[in-house]
Subunit: 461 residues, 2 copies
Amino acid sequence: MTYDCSFLGELDLDGDVSFGDSHRDGRAGDWGTPDEEKVRPDAVVWPGSTEDVSKLLAAATERGVPVTPYAAGTGLEGNATPVEAGISLDMTRMDEVLDVRPEDFQIDVEPGVIGSAVDEAVASHGLFFPPLPSSGEFSTVGGMVATDASGMKTVKYGEVADWVLELEAVLADGTVIKLGSKAAKTSSGYNLKDLVVGSEGTLAVVTRVTLRLAGIPAQKRAGRAVFASLDDATAAVADAVTSGVDVATIELLDETSTRMANAYSDTDLPDAPTVFFEFHADHGVDEEVAFCRSLFESNGAERFEVSADDTEMAELWQARKDLAYAVQSWDPDLRPLHPGDVTVPISAYGEVVSYAKELAADRGLIIPCFGHAGDGNVHYSVLVDPDDPESVELGERTYSDIVHRALELGGTATGEHGIGLGKREYLVAEHGEAAVRTMRAVKDTLDPTGTLNPGKIFPDE
Amino acid sequence: MTYDCSFLGELDLDGDVSFGDSHRDGRAGDWGTPDEEKVRPDAVVWPGSTEDVSKLLAAATERGVPVTPYAAGTGLEGNATPVEAGISLDMTRMDEVLDVRPEDFQIDVEPGVIGSAVDEAVASHGLFFPPLPSSGEFSTVGGMVATDASGMKTVKYGEVADWVLELEAVLADGTVIKLGSKAAKTSSGYNLKDLVVGSEGTLAVVTRVTLRLAGIPAQKRAGRAVFASLDDATAAVADAVTSGVDVATIELLDETSTRMANAYSDTDLPDAPTVFFEFHADHGVDEEVAFCRSLFESNGAERFEVSADDTEMAELWQARKDLAYAVQSWDPDLRPLHPGDVTVPISAYGEVVSYAKELAADRGLIIPCFGHAGDGNVHYSVLVDPDDPESVELGERTYSDIVHRALELGGTATGEHGIGLGKREYLVAEHGEAAVRTMRAVKDTLDPTGTLNPGKIFPDE
């Protein structure tokens, strides 16, 4: 499909427009889009202001031209792939930090600001942005808001939605609205702010974000523990969370993942299930670490290392940080299918991880499992031979079986990456026909012409 | 207006139906509805099950009969007043605790469960429900969800919405939907859960709630500090919050409020601005208290009392706990107008409080100010002579001036009681025409016949 986007030249935008091949190619998909599923947009627009976004959306809606918001392209579910071509709305040049109000623990940013730049802008005030995802050095605030992202510290601090106070957003018809409040709490009217957060650019385009911040804790410890078996490791994580250990981060790598990490990062971890952790506190951090250690050891931890030194902490953690790359580069002949996540209640965490490993063993597949274990979150990839249709089919089926198992256990098909294209088939299984019908009704109300990011979230009808 | 509700007898409900005067009178308003604004419903229905709610709503929608959800009736903004008569849907008999899952820090309840009963159900597991409002011994979980309530501990733990994981709810046409997830986080589909939370029964009727819980802290301290001036007291609160003191509660009573509290509770507090506080921690609580004390004293605190003893803590706090009654009973000839709240960013807290006190002085009015200061929240009442139209008019105007000042300062017209009837006139001033139009569109989509709680939230068109 191709759309005539020549009207873009007449809009008199502050920002820029390109019809060039390299610009269009660069926005044909995101980190999660395989080459064969990429779709080139007909044009790329970099808006320079809220007014630009408003003018563009009004004109595109009038002409029936799809608009797919784009930013860093770090999504893993094809969230920013312009499946129906049209316009890729690249928000990366709206990247100003507008205001920092340390006395209110608040910052106002444009959506193109990179996550780690938020931390840089507020560090001198002793503040930080806690839910930063692992991709925070690349991902934009707008992207994080679009998927309601979360990260390693979510187990203590919550997800992105918990840290968004107020949004400015533009509806498909060009209307600019303000959502939420700069007050710490509000019961005023419908909570449209949290409706837009996580809606993946299908309801509105966010043009300004007020984030809440947290104080940098006085005490930090980081470390890792090695377990003899995966069951021991998942039981230790669940035990720590259920016992109320105040962890800031608790990450699991299964044996397959540690092997991949060792190969990639040139580390010498034992090829065994490993739990990485970090503690934040203003008081008593060593008591919390000791409590955690006792729980871990009673669950069979064989090696427990911890440090308060920044360099040492980083070394202990290196393998975890490199893991996404390690999985990608494990075997040049294999490709990881859909590197997504599922999330379950913590009591079901061991069950969903062991189910994935059983399928791997039974079906002769390589399935590294890792993730933000304290949230009940598992990232897993099924490695397949992309040239072998049977391998791909088996991989797809296995991937899907794990999502369905997570749903049976009271979990969600995606804890942090959104539905995008990749998880659409699970939407009804998770929420039921009636809830999905209600979601569609909301979409049809806010964007009746289907201008914004078509093809995402909802399964084809 | 009167509706024929004789169809109720044909629905074969598990629950009960009444057309009796005393039942109808009892649901003609809530704690915030003056007698002259009460409206008797035509019938009262106590549903016994989700199926009952579904049958009833489908039948009422088909017949164009309004349905106003009702529970404890502790709302302060007329949220449950059946302004168009019809059916009062009393949820208080759906009051079962369905399941407690301590390993997941979760409880499933029916909406009629009283807030404090949640704490009782989970205390033996070392857990509690942190955002319980001050009315928690009377208010139901359903009511708290409907207004997105919050309470004294919100400054540390957040509001009710932050502790609701999953809802079952019934739409106006009788459709039962499930919203949210039992997973600790989700990015799956639109966040309809937080759209329904705080929607005051205008979008759906909640029939089951999964709440998240917190571990009871190992250390608690409670106390109070007396200040020479209101400016000192508000500056001390803002300083503590901005400095990251880890308070669980921080409440302000101005001089007028302490005088009322002394009269009602027979306490001997100085008639001076007083800050009540509570600390929760697993480690280092006394260090936090000492830090707070030093900040308070550098802001002019004249008396700082603190205790770790339960009985003593309760005594120190008694005056704060009785305050709502103290205001009501201060002068039998005066009536407190709309005892609501506004909430502003903490840096503007002193400004909104002193503005209210200036108006009181300039206009010769009694305006007690108190509230959850750490959130930037002020409860205030303007006392008026209900038999003197000039006094009522001046009171109304003053009340309104304070709300508008809060909005100018980046705040919200209601931090925790909802819009109901009483705050409808501020909705557009706070959110803008376009956002309110969007809210209306959502309402029209989910409840096209306007069955659910008509007349609330939106100003008359």
